[in-house]
Symmetry: C2
Subunit: 629 residues, 2 copies
C-alpha cells in the first residue's frame, strides 16, 4: 500500500501499488473531471506529480511541454511509490450551477396543480378506531381498515411485516386513535406507517429528478402540497463518464461497473436528502413517499438494473414501467417503508423525465398542439395535445454540454456564456458565469459564439473558417484553424481559450440533429410548424439558451419567440405533480402507454434532414425567414 | 464462564455464572421437557447433578428422596462452577409420533381436489417471446408480459427488484424462450422466477401445518399436484412451553421471548424443508410457493407478530388475514422470492388450521350439515354446510396432551394408549406405543383409562375414587388417591405409573369443555344433533381417539359411530388444497369472512353445559342412551 498526498487539499489516499491516480483521487473524495470515464481520451483529469515514482501508460493529448513539467492524466497514471500530487484548479469538477429553482417555479403549487384537488399518492389520516370488546373482536389490522373506511381504495390493507409487527402496540399506545399513512396508488391501499395519537405528524414526500448531469430533490409537505425546500448537485456518476453512453460502457466493461454507478447515484440522492432533512429540521422517517423521474438509463441505474441492452441495437430496456419498490430495497434515506415510484418510460430513449415534462407542460390539458423539446446529449421532443402525442429522440452528442469541444465546459463558475465580436477589429467581449475569469465555454456561450462567428464573417455557412489575414485572433492550432476568445493572461487557467474548426463541426452536428428531429416529427405526421401553438423548452440547458441565438444557428425553428416557453427542470416538477396527485400519476402511466415513439435510427427522413441541417442556419433558408444572411 | 458437561450425550455448554441449567442444556442442543416454559411448575426438566456447585431456587414437586440423590429441576437451578450433569431418559423431549401420513391421505390428490382443476397459486409457463427489433422495441418485462398473455391475471406483471435485475440476461440466455414462474393470487400477477429455455424446470410448493405441538411439511409438485414427500417433527418452541398460553406468557415476559419463539418455529420448519430437499434430491430454489396453516397464535409467531393481545381480554389478534410475504422476509429456506401465504384466521381462537379443516372436510361442498371437531388444548368446532358455518372454541386444557396429568405424555414411544382392567382382581393390561416399556399415558390412553376406571367401578360418575379395600392398586399418594397402572419394575422409568384423583378431575374438565362447546353450538342456533350428518374429527390427537371410549366418557356426542369421520391433519391437507387451487384459496378467504364465531367466554349457556359435563358421561344421561351405567 502506498500513500498519495493530494494538495492543496492535503488529503491522503492509501492505495495498492499499481492503482490509478484517478482511483486514488476518488477514494480521497476528490472529484476530478473525467468526461470519458477513465479511458484517457478526454484529457481532463490532469494532475501534477510533485514527488514519487509513477508509471504513465498514456499522456493522451497533453502538450509535450506539460508532460515535461510533470503533468499526467490521472486515469492513465499508476502509483509505484508514495506520492505527492497537486490537483490543478481546472481539473476539478467544480460546483455545477444546478437549477433547483427558476423564475418559473413558485414555492406553492404551480397553476395546474392548484386546479386539481390535492390528492397525493401517500396520504395521512387521523382515525379514531372503535375499541375492541369480547363481542367486537376484529383484529387490529381489520379495525384500522374499518376506521379508514372509504378514505382509501377498496380491498384489504396491504402492509409490510415490519409495520404489522408494531401495529398492536401502536394502536394501544394511541388508545385506539392513530395517524395512519397510506399509499394508495394501486388496486390495494398500502399501510406505510402508523403512529399513535392525534399529534400532528410531519408528512413529507420527495420529488426527484435523476438527471445524467445533475440530480435535484424537492422536499414537499404532502398535507399542504407546499414545496418546503430544494437541493441539487451534480450526479456523482460523472466520475465514471459525462454522458449516458460512457456510463453504459463503464457499467458493461468494468467488473464492478454497475455497482459503482448504482452506488454513486444513491450517494448523490442520499446526500441531498440528508441536507434537506438537516437544514429543514425534519426527520428521515417522516418522508413517506418518493416519486423520481429520469431518462431510461438513469432510471435503470437508480434501481440497480443493468443498462447494457439499452446501448446495443435494438436498444431494449429491462422495463419501461417500473414496479413500485420500498425505499429500503433501494437504500434511499427515507422512511424504509416509503414507496419509491419511478415515472414510466416509453422506450430506451424516451424516459420518465420526458413524460414528466409532458405532464408539467400542460400539453395534455389542451386541444392546442404544442411541442416539447429537451436538449441534452440527446434531444428529445414530443409533439401533441390532449388527444395524441408523438415523440422522438435524436443523438445530439455532448457538444452543448461541453463534450468534444476543446474548451467546452458546463455552466459553472467561469464559463463563458455570452460572446460579442466586433465586426471591424474582431475585438471580443465575454460574459462569464458569476463574472469570474474565463475557464471555458458553456452551451449557451457556444450557441452564441457560433451565431456571432457567422455574423462577424469569421466562419461561412458550412462552418469553415474564413481567413482574411486581418484577424489577429485567428490562428492555426494543433487541429486546424482556431479563433481565440481570450488570451492566456485574461483567463483563470492561464491558457488561451479558443473555438476551433473541429469545435464548430461538432456544434453543427449537434444542432443539426436536434433540428432534424423536430422536422422529422412534423413531417412524419404531416403536421405544419405553423400549427404548433407553443414550444416548451425543458431541461437545465434550456434555461441558459437564448432563443434568438438558437434560431440564428438553426437549432430551433424560426417562429415568433413569444411562442417559446421555458419550463426549466420539468422532470422534477412533473414528478412533484405526480407525487401530489393520484390522477396525475395515472395520467403519466396512460401517456407513457399511448404516446407514439418514432425510432429515428430506422428512419431515412431523419438522415436527410440531418445533412440539410449541417449549415448555418440550414441549407433551406426559406425555413429561417427571420435570419439574415 | 463455566463449562457444563452433559452426559451420556457428552456435550458441553459454556455459560455465564448464574445461568440456568435449562439455558445451558438448550445451548448444548439438548431438548428437555418443559411443559411450563421454565417456571418450575411442571417438574419435568429433571437433571441429576454429578459434580460441581449449583444454586437451587426451587425443587418444585420433586420427591425429597430425589432431591437428596442430587436431582434438580433444570429451570430452577443455576450454575456456580463447572458442572457434570446427567440427563435422565424421561427428561428428554422424545421423538413425537408425528402424523405426517394417515390412511386417509393418498399420495395423489384427495377426491375433492381431483374434481377441481389443478390450478395452483403459483404456476409455471414456458413462453416463446417475440424477439425485439428496432420497430418492435417493447421492454423485456413488457415482452414477457405479452408472451404470458391471458395465461395470467390482468394488469402489469409484479416483480421484485432482484428478479428484475436478472431479467435482461435471462431472456437473452434463453434466446427469448423462458420458463416463467408466476404467482397469481392477487389482482396482479407476480413474477417469482424466470429461467432461460424450455428445460423442464422443477416446480415445487410446500404445504405447512404449524401446530403448537408438531409441525408438518408436505413437498408438492405444483405441475402435477402430486405430494412428493412429507416430514413432521415436534415444534421446537416446546422448549418454551407446551401450549400456546405458556408460550404467549414466555413471549410477553422474557426479554427475547418473541425472538426465541420466532427463531424456534423457523428452525423447525427449515429443518423439515432441508430434510425434504436433501432426501428428495431437489433444490431449495425450486420451491416457489408456500401455504401455511396454524392456529392464530402459531401463525402470529411464524410471522414474528407478538401474540400478547391474543392472551389478554378481549383477545385481539394483530391480524386475521395475513398479507402474503416473500420467503426471504421471514427467512424460510425456499426460493427467496417464493410467496408465503398463511390461511386466514377468524379470531384469536379460530385459526387458519380450522379454516383448512373446513376446506378439507368437504363441509362447504354439501347442503348436508356437518360438524368439525379439532381437539387439542383448545377444542375448536365448526357446524355448517355450503351456506352457513358457525364456530366456537373452548379451552379444554392440556390434559388430553398429557398436561396437568402426573404421568401424562404425548403419543410417543412408551406411551400407554390402551388400558384394560379386570373387574374382579383389578389386573391391568396395557398397550403402549411401539410396544415399549411404559413411560406415561397419552391422550387416547387417558380416555380409555377414564372409561375403564368407571366401568370397573374404581371411580364414580363424579370421578371420585371408590376405595373398597380390595383394590391392591389403589393407594393414597401425595395428592390423594391414585390407581397404579404399572409398577416400577414394569416401567421404563423404574417408577410406578398411576392415575390420580387430580388427574381424573382434569380429564373431566377437559372432556366437559369440549362437549359443552358442541352443545352450545347446537343450542345457540337451535339445531338438532340428529340433523348433523357427519362429525369430522380433525387433528393429530383425533387419529388415536377411540370413538366408543370418547362417547363412553361423554367427550363426543352419542351418535352412531359410522357418522364419525377421522380426517387426520386437516390443517396441512387444507393448506395443500389451497396451494393447488386458486379457487380453494379464495374459498378459504371467503369462509374466514363469512363464518360466524361464537365467543364462549361471553356465554352463559356454555358455563351451564360445562358444569353438566363434569360427570361420566354427563348429568343428563338421556344424552348418552348407548352408554350403560
Amino acid at each position: 500500500m502506498y500513500s498519495v498526498l493530494f494538495f492543496p487539499d492535503n488529503v491522503v489516499s492509501q492505495v495498492e501499488a499499481g492503482s490509478s491516480l484517478l482511483k486514488a483521487a476518488t477514494e480521497a473524495g476528490l472529484e476530478l473531471k473525467s468526461g470519458c470515464g477513465g479511458k484517457g481520451s478526454c484529457g481532463r483529469c490532469v494532475l501534477l506529480i510533485k514527488q514519487g515514482r509513477i508509471r504513465v501508460e498514456d499522456t493522451g493529448n497533453l502538450p509535450q511541454l506539460k508532460v515535461q513539467e510533470g503533468y499526467v492524466l490521472a486515469c492513465q497514471t499508476f502509483v509505484e511509490s508514495n506520492l505527492v500530487v497537486e490537483v490543478p484548479k481546472d481539473s476539478r469538477l467544480g460546483e455545477h450551477q444546478v437549477l433547483v429553482d427558476s423564475k418559473l417555479l413558485s414555492e406553492t403549487l404551480p397553476p395546474r396543480q392548484t386546479e386539481r384537488e390535492l390528492d397525493p399518492l401517500c396520504r395521512q389520516f387521523y382515525v379514531e378506531m372503535q375499541p375492541p370488546g369480547l363481542l367486537e373482536n376484529a383484529s387490529d389490522l381489520q379495525r384500522l381498515r374499518t376506521a379508514l373506511g372509504k378514505n382509501v381504495g377498496k380491498g384489504d390493507l396491504g402492509v409490510s411485516l415490519d409495520v404489522l409487527r408494531r401495529l398492536a402496540e401502536t394502536v394501544r399506545k394511541g388508545d385506539w386513535n392513530v395517524t395512519a399513512t397510506v399509499a394508495d396508488f394501486d388496486t390495494q391501499p398500502q399501510l406505510v406507517a402508523v403512529e399513535p395519537g392525534k399529534e400532528r405528524q410531519s408528512h413529507l414526500g420527495l420529488a426527484v429528478d435523476v438527471g445524467t448531469t445533475t440530480i435535484v430533490v424537492y422536499l414537499i409537505d404532502l398535507n399542504s402540497g407546499v414545496t418546503l425546500d430544494k437541493r441539487g448537485t451534480y450526479n456523482r456518476q460523472s466520475r465514471y463518464g459525462d454522458d449516458v453512453i460512457t456510463r453504459m460502457v463503464y457499467a458493461a466493461e468494468e467488473e464492478q461497473g454497475l455497482g459503482d454507478l448504482y452506488a454513486a447515484v444513491l450517494e448523490t440522492v442520499n446526500e441531498l436528502i440528508d441536507r434537506l432533512v438537516e437544514e429543514n429540521g425534519v426527520r428521515h422517517e417522516d418522508i413517506v413517499q418518493v416519486v423520481a423521474a429520469g431518462n431510461t438509463t438513469m432510471t435503470h441505474l437508480l434501481l440497480g438494473l443493468h443498462p447494457r441492452y439499452i446501448r446495443l441495437e435494438p436498444y431494449i430496456p429491462t422495463a419501461n414501467r417500473f414496479p413500485p419498490v420500498r425505499a429500503r430495497e433501494v437504500g434511499i434515506h427515507t422512511n424504509p417503508e416509503a414507496w419509491l415510484m419511478v415515472l414510466p418510460a416509453v422506450s430506451s430513449y424516451i424516459g420518465g423525465d420526458i413524460i414528466a415534462g409532458v405532464i408539467y407542460s400542460g400539453m395534455l390539458e389542451s386541444s392546442e398542439v404544442s411541442l416539447l423539446i429537451d436538449i441534452g446529449t440527446n434531444g428529445e421532443m414530443v409533439l401533441g395535445n390532449n388527444e395524441w402525442q408523438v415523440a422522438c429522440s435524436c443523438s445530439a452528442g455532448p457538444a452543448f454540454e461541453g463534450g468534444g469541444i476543446a474548451y467546452g465546459m458546463r455552466a459553472m463558475r467561469g464559463a463563458i456564456e455570452r460572446i460579442q465580436i466586433d465586426r471591424d477589429n474582431y475585438d471580443v467581449t465575454l460574459s462569464t458565469v458569476k463574472d469570474a475569469l474565463p475557464i471555458g465555454i458553456c452551451g449557451s456561450g457556444l450557441i452564441d459564439g457560433l451565431a456571432t462567428l457567422r455574423e462577424a464573417g469569421i466562419i461561412d455557412r458550412a462552418g469553415k473558417f474564413h481567413d482574411n489575414g486581418a484577424n489577429p485572433r485567428l490562428r492555426k492550432g494543433d487541429n486546424g484553424l482556431e479563433f481565440v476568445l481570450a488570451w492566456g493572461k485574461e483567463t483563470e487557467c492561464g491558457r488561451d481559450i479558443f473555438i476551433s474548426e473541429d469545435d464548430v463541426k461538432n456544434l453543427l452536428r449537434a444542432k443539426g440533429a436536434v433540428f432534424a428531429g423536430i422536422r422529422t416529427l412534423l413531417k412524419t405526421i404531416d403536421y405544419p410548424l405553423e400549427g404548433v401553438e407553443r414550444i416548451y423548452i425543458a431541461g437545465g440547458f434550456g434555461n441558459y439558451i437564448n432563443v434568438d441565438d438558437a434560431i440564428r444557428i438553426g437549432l430551433l425553428p424560426d417562429v415568433d419567440p413569444s411562442r417559446y416557453v421555458f419550463i426549466g427542470n420539468s422532470s422534477v416538477k412533473g414528478a412533484r405533480m405526480a407525487l401530489l396527485s393520484r390522477a396525475v400519476w395515472q395520467q403519466a402511466q396512460d401517456v407513457a402507454r399511448s404516446l407514439t415513439s418514432l425510432e429515428l435510427s430506422a428512419d431515412n427522413t431523419f438522415m436527410e434532414e440531418f445533412f440539410s441541417g449541417l449549415f448555418l442556419p440550414h441549407t433551406d433558408l426559406s425555413l429561417f425567414p427571420s435570419v439574415k444572411d
